[in-house]
Subunit: 299 residues, 4 copies
Amino acid sequence: MKSFTGETKKPGVRDPDICVVTCAVTGVLANRRQNPGIPYTPAEIADECKRAYDAGASVVHIHARNDDGGPTFSPAVFARIKEEVRARCPIILNFSTGTILDDVTDQCTYVRESKPEIAALNMGTMNYAKYSPKRKQFDFDMVFPNTYSKIIKLLEVMNEVGVKPELECFDTGHTNGIAPLLDMGVLRPPLQFSFIMNVLGGIPGHVESLQLQTKIMPAGSEWEVIGISHGAWRMIAAALVLGGNIRCGLEDHLYLPNGEMATSNGPLVETAVRLVRDVGRRPATVEEAREILSLGAPR
Amino acid sequence: MKSFTGETKKPGVRDPDICVVTCAVTGVLANRRQNPGIPYTPAEIADECKRAYDAGASVVHIHARNDDGGPTFSPAVFARIKEEVRARCPIILNFSTGTILDDVTDQCTYVRESKPEIAALNMGTMNYAKYSPKRKQFDFDMVFPNTYSKIIKLLEVMNEVGVKPELECFDTGHTNGIAPLLDMGVLRPPLQFSFIMNVLGGIPGHVESLQLQTKIMPAGSEWEVIGISHGAWRMIAAALVLGGNIRCGLEDHLYLPNGEMATSNGPLVETAVRLVRDVGRRPATVEEAREILSLGAPR
Amino acid sequence: MKSFTGETKKPGVRDPDICVVTCAVTGVLANRRQNPGIPYTPAEIADECKRAYDAGASVVHIHARNDDGGPTFSPAVFARIKEEVRARCPIILNFSTGTILDDVTDQCTYVRESKPEIAALNMGTMNYAKYSPKRKQFDFDMVFPNTYSKIIKLLEVMNEVGVKPELECFDTGHTNGIAPLLDMGVLRPPLQFSFIMNVLGGIPGHVESLQLQTKIMPAGSEWEVIGISHGAWRMIAAALVLGGNIRCGLEDHLYLPNGEMATSNGPLVETAVRLVRDVGRRPATVEEAREILSLGAPR
Amino acid sequence: MKSFTGETKKPGVRDPDICVVTCAVTGVLANRRQNPGIPYTPAEIADECKRAYDAGASVVHIHARNDDGGPTFSPAVFARIKEEVRARCPIILNFSTGTILDDVTDQCTYVRESKPEIAALNMGTMNYAKYSPKRKQFDFDMVFPNTYSKIIKLLEVMNEVGVKPELECFDTGHTNGIAPLLDMGVLRPPLQFSFIMNVLGGIPGHVESLQLQTKIMPAGSEWEVIGISHGAWRMIAAALVLGGNIRCGLEDHLYLPNGEMATSNGPLVETAVRLVRDVGRRPATVEEAREILSLGAPR
Ligand SMILES: [Zn+2]
Ligand SMILES: [Zn+2]
Ligand SMILES: [Zn+2]
Ligand SMILES: [Zn+2]
């Protein structure tokens, strides 16, 4: 049988046609003034996870928020989110661990306590800035530090409780920089990468960016694209063509391909899944995603 | 305003979001035993052109057939096809001129007489063979010759009657081989290329194949992908991502992305147009396609 | 120990630093009016092979000529060339089998009788033309046919007598077109490719051309670049950087990098070998080349 | 006349054959225990600049050191270095401005006072770490911060005194991150880039890395490669093939291509220049480099 690339499928090899679709339901940067559909509370977040699940996603990537929409790293809130999601659907949980601080105590705690199947892990340091073309100046201009010692702290907790790290790489040096972690044994194959495109200070949204990132990563790794802001749908299609998994959701881009604002994560996932099918692939079920991402049994 | 690549659109520059969708409605290789939807007669072909038009195509690429499905190069049949299509819709006509013979008298005649807006022109020589993996031998094994003198004969007629050549390139040497024709003045920019992928003896269906072909072609040229057989939908998505135009249709691939056989060209074009929209682009109207392809006024 | 790429060398894997340098000593297109150093007779050819050997080449690619410089496919002349070369040095012999005719009887005979270690084999059909920019017309305009049946005839003889085919690919379709031959078993890994760059009708001399050709070939194959005419030294350097073997010689390009005409193959090979060393690699000895190219013991 | 790529040279366009060779004579990381040839004092540094000049370099990149080899940012030392170099040869001066601190007061002072023709400018933030495979732990693990405000401070001084910034990019996000600076007008074309390869935390040394970096930079920019550590010669050859300028020197890599330690910068530049010539290019004179890099008249 032919795969979507036209080549004959090989038994015993990961089926290239299957695509793990992740939905990043909320993030922390955008708020309801920008898009009224953005969920804040655990129940709202869980409702969005259910919409993503119903539309064909098998993983949800989650940041926690206070009820007013501000970011929180409270382990209790993460626990509550897990509970609310689990009450609605068996979708795989991926919790963010990103923080601009060096201190990752809270992150370690909620990873250890909530044990999401996956925890996203920022793999390198970069500028974190926002420029206003209108005012010709920067709105903010900071460093987003992710030293090896910070990364190792998080990896050790993940290893301890059996949470799979998703290696979030904003540039090629983040991907290439895993070598010492592999050598130390704190990072263990098979690996799972997220290639974030189009963040100021990070790799730009070119097809060649994905080609270089996937060339650098160890052969046999799973990878997905995260296309931020405008150009997101093009990057999703590029990843589909190149054989990757994909991520969509209100954290990444607020708009549907036709330029209309998405009212919830549901239509975003529906569009992504339609793209998956229209290039000749199909979305992974939760069970298939568990196997593809080496996550073990549900818990 | 942002284009589908995330970059700001520039006034006066061809809108990168607009995609010319061509439908190759019949070809000459497949027959009704393989797919009952393949049109043979001028009326059947024209009905299929109308279905393609209704689904969002702005160009149809046409081979003529006898009523039993065999190929014909009869100028009268091409004239009849034009008449039947024109009676149904204003879609742009692209007539094949491909022949395994050196003699292109008939082709010159129907280009001169029917004056389709576009005529497809094979730009190089290659092997033309079909291998049977089952029987471990070749079904046929021939040369598909397209010498410069054959190409020049056809170009001179197209120049004479104002028919736009679509440069069909099966490999990089075909694209690169236009240099003498440009130098002689028999080929004149702006150029329009078709990059055919995945024919035995020609360039294989990789994203990198499209990247190299578009690097070789003169800057500012229009180009489309033609993905043959399995892998066709992936190649269409790749071209969409890379900013190209696309072609689909029963000549190129008989199946929808889910593996079901297409009952007509309509569903193939519908799928292609949905892909166009889902990456953040939109299909060209006939009027837009005329302008993008530099075809002049309808005739 | 680090290889020239900066990566650690792996035991049991072909040493990436070693580069097989081939010299194409004469060809058949250029003559002594163009370059007085071009050898014609078997003794002259063998003298050039010795100069190439002394300068660091481990393989010589040879066409036979009559004493007036015209091409010959006479088995007796090839036998004589072998004898003359063997009297001078143990360099590996690679005999051309290229012919614009379909009939390969002579080629089969001299491969069978002389049993060179390697025989070069053209892997596809293309236009074979020469354009004169001055006269704005073609000097000649032909088809260079290499159908599968012609290729198979030559391969069967090579298999019969244990001569290694060097797969000469002028474009990506030639490289990709080996699939049926592998499936039939007439072509057997490990394979050895030559990627010819910059012939009109073939792939142009871009770095990306080499990258695509090496992507298409089966993993684990050996490959060399053949850069024709101007741009040849750049293509040689590109192949060195990408890990390939290289070919130089009066057949491919008559000039040294500074634009001066080479007086013999010696200075061409000296320059190539200096490039090999200056990128951190080293030229293969004859013994190493035998092993790398899987040629077996001398005969 | 043909360029080294085989294409015809165009009048009025920067001659692609000319390559600006820069020598980074000392750096600050390596010391005389590692290589006795590393210069410390202004006179020693100037002697090395003269050796680089004599060997064919047209630019020297300089860090200042105390007499014991430790780093210094003393404006007086930079002034002294300039004086010593100018007493020996007219080579173009490129002063480093790199510092792990946020405070760039000293850097601004010596740029303003010494007015080197060029000042190197780090264009982004990244991890700065060194891993010991032997001890399976990090020797150090820090952030190398280069926020926009730090970059802008340095750019403003360079603009004020007419010093050309050389944009040192360790990853693609550094190259892509110039957009706000161009929009603010603090960075002004034509631009000059250095693409540093193979630093932990930065882009790895692949040919594709250079291809992506040069795709991202604004068209018409000048660029050079800086290949750090093993793999350096391969990266230099890659840049030569891709049309870039090159840098070598004891700051970047202590070894000649054959693995021997270089006794001074002279043999490193000699090797680089030989590579330049052997791919068919030639090293820029100081005057040509001034014009290519838009540096204006000597001062
Ligand atoms: Zn997130
Ligand atoms: Zn056709
Ligand atoms: Zn030859
Ligand atoms: Zn430096």
